[in-house]
């Protein structure tokens, strides 16, 4: 990182000198010109964004910011949304649920936000969802992954204001099981975070893999509290159990620490199949560098080398030029969120919550990550993210995904009405 992260001054500059942004070249999505016929939108489109900007995970917030700011720059330089500029304010979500609620209330009640986005932790997302119903503003979740957000809050309780643009825990639990079924490992263990995200992903992995591969055993679970810096006791638990496979959604800095300490303990010589559903995060790959072992299964919510399309390559190149970083997955989801808002508002001809929700439901969006569809029933974006094996590359100072497997989203995303076996993969049809 070396202090190259975006500084506050850059952020202010980004807001003030949007004209300069036109030098960056045309945006991925050109204005469609529909807005000429939609004079009903008055004043700027105000987007309140929250991400974690303090504490051990502050780096994630910076990556959110880079994606969001870049999208705002590009959209405004190309004429804005329906002729109106986007105004964005970014606040620190701190990962605490009460702060997330305070932020959305501030954004709507005091700052006058039209739309909201961001939110990192599952706990925060579940706390904020009911408030969005009261405030009646659209919230696009860009990072929090719990399936309960879309299954319970949106589908069952009918909080229609909440959408999610990133892959949910289906990617971490179900898709991992689809990959694991073809591996020779018959016994699996986990070191997982000791909170909602860790519990729900491990359950999903066990349930789906159990159905896909009868006879597979789950032999040990070790739950690491948030903020763990010494994984040695957890590694001991796993090595005592001697499983053939290790599954872990430990993420960000903690994953870097865990991998280093597991390597020192010789874990990768004993356990050949290791799956890290969020191991393809840029902070992890860059942080571990050459210390990331080869042949580890990794995935994320987007990986900058997939899809192999000109559009994605162009975006990654522009991102690298603008921020001197490869885009993290939250950068992609934050970036695409702004274009989702643009497309929905221009289609609806309004920035009011009701019409925007209608426009977003079932909407297709083309972004760096490829084509997304926002499922009408649960407001979950469906798109494909690969799983892959780590490998060194002469082109990058960190490990990348070598062999990639893409399991189509429609095969492993739980289906509405989310009840009974038929709603969960593997599907009969």
């Amino acid at each position: 990182m070396d202090g190259q992260g975006m500084k506050r001054r850059d952020f202010i500059k980004a807001g003030l000198l949007t004209a300069a942004a036109s030098a960056l070249g045309p945006g991925v999505m050109k204005p469609v010109g529909l807005w000429a016929a939609t004079p009903s939108i008055k004043g700027p489109v105000k987007v309140g964004y929250q991400a974690v900007l303090s504490g051990t995970l502050a780096g994630y917030g910076e990556f959110h910011k880079m994606g969001a700011v870049m999208a705002v720059e590009e959209i405004n330089a190309a004429g804005g949304i329906a002729g109106q500029k986007i105004e964005m304010e970014i606040r620190d979500s701190t990962l605490a649920a009460p702060t997330a609620i305070q932020n959305v209330r501030y954004f709507v009640d005091s700052w006058g936000a039209d739309l909201l986005a961001g939110v990192d932790s599952s706990g925060q997302a579940l706390a904020v969802a009911p408030v969005m119903g009261q405030l009646d503003r659209v919230l696009m979740v860009t990072h929090a992954a719990t399936e309960k957000l879309t299954e319970e809050e949106v589908f069952k309780k009918g909080v229609r204001q909440v959408f999610r643009i990133c892959t949910p825990t289906y990617q971490d639990g179900n898709a991992a099981a689809f990959v694991a079924k073809d591996l020779p490992a018959m016994s699996w263990a986990t070191i997982n975070p000791k909170y909602e995200y860790g519990f729900t992903t491990w359950n999903m992995f066990k349930e789906t893999l159990g159905k896909l591969k009868p006879g597979v055993q789950f032999t040990a679970e070790s739950w690491a509290p948030f903020g763990t810096t010494d994984f040695r006791p957890h590694i001991n638990t796993i090595m005592d159990a001697k499983p053939e496979g290790l599954y872990s959604v430990v993420w960000a800095g903690e994953l870097i620490t865990m991998m280093k300490q597991a390597k020192q303990a010789g874990l990768f010589e004993k356990i050949k199949h290791v799956m890290l559903p969020v191991g393809a995060a840029m902070d992890v790959l860059e942080g571990l560098g050459a210390e990331m072992p080869d042949n580890i299964w990794i995935s994320g919510r987007y990986f900058f080398l997939y899809p192999d399309t000109p559009q994605n390559k162009d975006w990654v190149a522009r991102f690298k030029k603008r921020w001197n970083h490869y885009p993290a997955y939250v950068s992609e989801t934050a970036y695409s969120t702004m274009f989702a808002f643009k497309k929905a508002i221009e289609a609806a001809g309004s920035k009011e919550t009701g019409p925007v929700i209608k426009a977003l439901e079932g909407m297709e969006l083309d972004g760096p990550a490829g084509k997304r569809v926002f499922r009408k029933e649960d407001h979950q974006a469906m798109y494909d993210v690969p799983w892959g094996l780590t490998v060194s590359s002469p082109n990058y100072p960190f490990k990348i995904m070598g062999k990639q497997i893409v399991i189509p989203a429609k095969e492993f995303f739980n289906r509405p009405p989310f009840e009974g076996d038929a709603s969960k993969p593997p599907f009969k049809s």
Partner: protein
């Protein structure tokens, strides 16, 4: 089973020794200055970041980094005591807590401004990244080194406070500030010295944590200070012997808890603290 027990013990002891390095300075400062320094964890963080910076940008080797990083933190500690803390000694406890807590936030922001908000993966230290097989499982050589450093620091502190003349002065000032001043001890300078020394111990812990934790983050100080506080409370505020044993107990309890009673791992530490507070509120080795 033997292999399992041996490694659970080793993991617990090495974890305990990191906490001890931070807790020793915390309890020493409290014992002499009667200040509960929330910002003590920030010295740990600064020690780690500065050691990393010397390694990465000045190209010095790790041991020089461990020497230089904490020395810079001593300067920070000097300014903090001399120009800020000194003004709140006569005030009530809440003012000290507010001031030192404010320093935590300031140090976190400073680190973000200087080094960036992202976590930094620290470089591997040549010669220290190896492991040795103990009872059939690899254990990092570096952690064995940490297990040796802890008791050495404890021994050094004991020798300094019990056997040397200025250790006696420190103890005198700790037990009766006015009497010490009356017989000619320069108490303010002594306070500064003890504070700077405590800061050095914490920064040393941070610098030594660089290769093991493998990661530098702005929140790393807060994580360790909570454990250090628990250790100091259990051992008795102001007691070095208590802090040493407390750190060992917490390290081992966490390690055994994680392995054998995983549902209660974090809980065990706080149950122990609650029990100590109920039955022996002054801690196990309180001076008075």
């Amino acid at each position: 089973m033997v292999q399992s027990l041996v490694h659970v013990c080793l993991a617990g002891i090495s974890a305990g020794m990191f906490i001890w390095l931070v807790a020793s300075g915390l309890t020493l400062i409290f014992g002499v200055l009667r200040v509960l320094n929330f910002a003590h964890g920030s010295f740990y963080m600064l020690g780690a970041y500065l050691c990393y910076t010397f390694l990465r940008f000045a190209g010095v080797d790790f041991w020089l980094g461990v020497l230089l990083g904490p020395l810079v933190v001593c300067v920070v500690g000097y300014f903090m005591e001399r120009f800020l803390l000194r003004h709140v000694y006569p005030l009530e406890l809440p003012y000290q807590l507010l001031l030192t807590f404010a320093m935590v936030l300031i140090f976190d922001e400073l680190v973000k401004m200087i080094w960036g908000a992202g976590s930094i993966g620290s470089p591997t230290v040549p010669g220290l990244s190896g492991s040795v097989s103990i009872a059939g499982r690899d254990f990092p050589v570096y952690n064995l080194f940490i297990i040796a450093v802890g008791p050495l620091v404890a021994l050094g502190l004991w020798a300094m406070l019990e056997k040397m003349w200025w250790g006696r002065i420190i103890r005198a000032a700790a037990s009766d500030r006015e009497m010490a001043a009356a017989i000619g001890v320069k108490v303010p300078a002594l306070y500064t010295g003890v504070f700077v020394f405590g800061a050095w111990l914490s920064a040393l812990g941070g610098a030594l944590a660089v290769p093991y934790v493998g990661l530098l983050t702005t929140g790393m100080g807060e994580a360790i200070i909570i454990e250090a506080f628990v250790v100091v409370v259990i051992g008795g505020l102001g007691s070095l012997k208590g802090a040493f044993l407390g750190a060992l107990v917490i390290g081992l309890l966490t390690s055994f808890g994680t392995r054998f009673i995983p549902t209660l791992d974090m809980f065990l530490t706080f149950i122990l603290m609650a029990a100590v507070l109920l039955w022996r509120p002054q801690g196990f080795f309180a001076e008075s």
